[in-house]
Symmetry: C2
Subunit: 144 residues, 2 copies
DNA sequence: ATTGAAAATGAGAATCATTCTCAGGTGGGA
DNA sequence: TCCCACCTGAGAATGATTCTCATTTTCAAT
């Protein structure tokens, strides 16, 4: 599970420097198998190193996204969530009531993307399928 | 194509008042078969009525979304785009270079949503499939 | 090891879409 | 026509993200 080396090699292959801050952010991102938002990541990083600034967290996320190591998701409307790019793609459902996120696989989606690419001559780099509604738990509990 | 009456009836059925501002915004939204952002809609609305405020545009969009008459899309990361809810669902591809948006149908996607709903006991209310990459035109023109 | 130039950082200001506040205006039922 | 709860306009407030800039740090070449 400790694949930090892969991340570090990728960063260096792109000519980016390896700083204390980037190492730490990568470590936290790998440990957290979740969709962290920038603020949460910032808090966890600060728990290890008080001196790291929020701007650095954003800069590093942007850089990791650029080299393909993390994905950014807009699960709600508010702010972004980030997660390590998974080997096999998956998608997300969010409950509008409790905020719970359910991940799911759906191989058909890539076919849709492939067909569209072929038909329109596109080069598709990102595929986001996002569902929202009311989860099973919330349907029982409340009406609103 | 002039289905304003449907919109107006829907609004009234939900107990909302029919104001000059709301009528105008609905009219513009129906005339524009595009994905308008709030600012563009605001400009078009102002061309007809100088006195309308941006906050009213946002308030009305939010209200129309709530009753299901318009959909909100996050095509890029920046800001939202809005369009009249279409009869048959469609999805979007955005070119990261020129910003062009391509709409496409993909009936399979609803099956994915249905299967997930059944399996997890969810009630899915929104389905967004968003692709991005490089369009055919931009692949020829530029490398970057 | 030392050095130097380019790249990265921290702090806080700036940005920008969207929402909120509140005093005044208006739709539509009685 | 009257009334009042709902709407509106203007501008302030918010909140996530980005930018600025002076200071540090990395790392390739000495």
């Amino acid at each position: 599970m400790n694949d930090c080396n892969h991340w570090i090699e990728t960063l260096q292959a792109h000519g980016y420097r390896l700083t204390r801050q980037r190492r730490l952010i990568i470590k936290i991102l790998e440990e957290s198998h979740e969709h962290l938002d920038a603020e949460t990541l910032y808090d966890r990083v600060r728990a290890c190193d008080e001196s790291i600034g929020l701007a650095t967290v954003y800069r590093t996320l942007s850089l990791l996204k650029q080299v393909g190591l993390v994905e950014e998701h807009r699960l709600g409307a508010e702010h972004s969530h980030f997660e390590a790019t998974p080997e096999t793609p998956h998608y997300h459902f969010t409950c509008r009531h409790c905020g719970r996120v359910i991940e799911f696989a759906a191989p058909e989606v890539l076919n849709v993307a492939r067909e569209l690419s072929a038909r329109e001559g596109l080069h598709v780099t990102d595929v986001h399928l996002f569902l929202s509604g009311c989860c099973a738990r919330c349907q029982k509990g409340e009406t609103e």
